[in-house]
């Protein structure tokens, strides 16, 4: 049996299967997978149609961090902790929003778990509602672009810094556009004892309104504009960033996606685009992205 799929039901062009398969392969399938409620769970774990080639558990939307912590504790108590890596796959809603409490507990107690958040920047399973990972200006069904309000107001939550602030040994951001880099990060994470947090940008074709063939291209542009900086922290220190040669203007990223289309005609759209450019510039300064 393969480690993940091919029978999964994700939309053609969906980003997260690349991350899931990549992580499982990077760890040679020595994984106990913990999954929160969301798109990944729904497309992979239907009764009688399990697509996972590794032991897998789904409990609730908001408790993957604690379930993983419990598994890890049990493996230690049973002296089975060398058997496998406990790896969480959770959406951004499960991670940034409703499950942040149990994730914080898991990180605070430093359980030996690799927590991978596949970040598709909204609640996609339930039809594209905003999460705290949704970027400024994106239209979702709960932050629609209206005559007055041009999509999501407020910034994308900085989960990377929140993870780093917990003092855990390894934190990284990644993108499905750079699968080798992502796999290296998963392998690197596995070398540390304790809690590890990896956030991997994984486009959603339906929610973002992109052509299924452009998934990787769109994800790459998020990195190349500076909107999704790829960074790596070891023991609280920033140790590596992916440098960008000729950082592109954010419009190049935005214009490929339906969720940002209104920004190009809405009276407040220009302001929002400028704001997003400021976010990208700030990322570049903060992490030294420009090569």
């Amino acid at each position: 049996m393969s480690l993940f799929g091919p029978g999964h039901g994700a939309c053609p062009g969906c980003g997260f299967p690349i991350a899931v398969r990549g992580a499982l392969e990077a760890l040679d399938g020595k994984v106990i997978a913990v999954n929160s409620t969301g798109c990944l769970e729904i497309v992979s774990s239907m009764y009688g149609r399990n697509t996972w080639g590794v032991p897998y558990i789904h409990s609730l939307f908001e408790n993957a961090g604690a379930v993983a912590a419990g598994i890890e504790t049990a493996l230690r108590a049973l002296k089975r902790d060398k058997e496998a890596h406990v790896v969480v796959f959770a959406g951004d809603g499960a991670t940034f929003d409703i499950g942040i409490g149990t994730l914080s507990g898991m990180m605070d107690r430093n359980h030996n778990v690799i927590y991978i958040c596949y970040d598709n920047e909204a609640y996609q399973n339930t039809g594209n509602q905003q999460s705290m990972a949704t970027p400024t200006g994106a239209a979702t069904t709960t932050t629609p672009a209206g005559k007055v309000i041009p999509g999501k107001m407020g910034r994308k939550k900085d989960m990377i810094s929140i993870a780093v602030a917990h003092g855990i040994p390894y934190v990284a951001s990644a993108s499905i556009a750079f699968p080798k880099d992502f796999q290296r990060k998963v392998k690197r994470a596995a070398e540390f004892e304790g809690a590890k947090y990896i956030q991997v940008h994984a486009p959603c074709v339906t929610g973002w309104g992109i052509d299924g063939k452009l998934t990787v291209e769109v994800a790459r542009l998020a990195v190349e504009t500076g909107l999704y900086p790829l960074v790596e922290y070891e023991n609280g220190k920033l140790v590596r960033v992916r440098k960008i040669k000729d950082r592109k203007p954010v419009e190049e990223y935005l214009k490929l996606q339906r969720r940002f289309r209104h920004l190009f005609k809405h009276p407040k759209g220009k302001e929002i685009i400028e704001e997003l450019q400021r976010v990208a510039d700030e990322n570049a300064r903060r992490y030294g992205l420009d090569a």
Partner: protein, 391 residues
């Protein structure tokens, strides 16, 4: 070994002797002392291979024991009131996943208004989760029921979580003589947990699947079947317990003086001890009264209740919880067990939020019913005059 100990210690000690692999918990009055005792045992190296974790919330604690149980561990937690309500989503999930977690609920009323005192509204509120619920009347019973809970929950014919409900403060903080078990006895009774399915790299399985309409109902009906099988399993284990310890707990109900009784009082939990005393006294006075203690609320002992009450002319059910807008929970279940029989039925609610239940109140209650002075139906006892206010 017989010792005068406090309830929380008797509980913690029984948990230790049951050799759980993982304990995860979060403090809340009046449960706190149970986990504090366990934490102390852990700190002193007295918990053997058990891992003890303080969670970030009851929701986290329940989720951790769920994960631990799925990984093949024997797992324990304890809580009260708001903590139990916060665990609710996870507990329904654990039951559906057929994970034999054991938890102790130190029963406490629920907010609002805030009250740390005892009634059983908390555990009653999640009676439909698919969790075995057992209510004890003494700390000896609490102590003994914990190894039994693990044994029944982990039985392959059952595989459901098990909740031992102990009245907060009234039992948890009371000093009582308890015959404490020893490790040899518990080990003889309770073998290590052998899960049927677990998260195992050698045999990858998916737990917690998603079930569309063609599958869902069968999973739920299977839980109902397991709960039915738990009846047999539990009786067998009560017998085994008696053989091993000489302590005979009977079964799901304890009927005393019911055969010829005109009035039978039905209740659960620590209040049973008081009712027993009153009934004994009244019997000495030649009054035909009896008492029925319900030990397991889920599975509900319909047949036993019906059998014990079949000769009673008048039945009094005491509830310490409400189902606001309907009959109180225990009264409703007892009534359904009596379907077709029609004794005079008194549903009495008392002791909410720690309201004192004096002995005289119970005496008067039974006497009034016996003498035909009380109107059948539902009523509240021990209530003060009050004007309705919306706080």
């Amino acid at each position: 070994m017989r010792k005068v100990v406090r309830g929380f210690y008797a509980i913690a000690e029984a948990v230790r002797l049951s050799r759980p692999n993982v304990i995860a918990a979060y403090p809340i009055t009046p449960q706190t002392e149970i986990v504090e005792n366990l934490a102390e045992m852990y700190a002193n190296g007295e918990l053997g291979d058990t891992e003890y974790v303080t969670a970030e919330s009851e929701f986290g604690a329940a989720s951790m024991v769920l994960g631990a149980s799925a990984a093949g561990a024997r797992a324990f937690t304890a809580t009260s009131s708001q903590g139990l309500l916060l665990m609710t989503e996870v507990l329904y999930n654990a039951a559906g996943m057929r994970l034999p977690i054991v938890l102790v609920v130190a029963n406490r009323s629920v907010s609002a208004p805030l009250s740390i005192w005892n009634d059983i509204q908390d555990s009653i509120s999640i009676r439909d989760a698919g969790i075995i619920q057992l209510y004890v009347e003494s700390n000896q019973e609490a102590h003994d029921m914990i190894p039994l809970a693990f044994k029944v929950a982990e039985n392959r014919d059952v595989l459901l979580p098990f909740m031992v409900c102990v009245d907060g403060f009234k039992l948890t903080h009371a000093y009582e003589p308890v015959d404490l078990l020893d490790q040899e006895t518990v080990d003889k009774f309770l073998p290590p947990y052998e899960p049927v399915v677990k998260l195992d790299i050698e045999k990858p399985a998916a737990l917690g699947c998603y079930a569309p309409p063609p599958y869902y109902m069968e999973f739920r009906v299977a839980m109902e079947m397991a709960m039915e099988r738990a009846r047999e399993v539990m009786l067998k284990e009560f017998e085994e317990w008696y053989r091993l310890t000489g302590r005979d707990w009977g079964g799901y109900v304890v009927a005393e003086n019911c055969e010829d009784a005109e009035v039978v009082v039905v209740a659960m939990g620590s209040i049973v001890a008081l009712i027993r005393e009153v009934v004994k006294q009244m019997r000495k006075e030649g009054k035909k009264v009896g008492m029925l203690k319900i030990r397991t609320y889920r599975p509900f002992p319909h047949e036993e209740v019906r059998k014990a009450l079949k000769n009673a002319q008048k039945v009094v059910v005491i509830d310490r919880a409400l189902s606001i807008g309907a009959e109180p929970p225990l009264a409703a279940d007892v009534k359904s067990a009596l379907f077709g029989l029609s004794p005079e039925f008194h549903s009495v609610v008392m002791g909410l939020g720690g309201r004192d239940i004096p002995r005289e109140q119970i005496e008067k209650l039974i006497n009034d019913v016996l003498e035909g002075k009380a109107k059948p139906g539902k009523r509240f006892e021990g209530l003060y005059e009050f004007e309705e206010v919306i706080p």
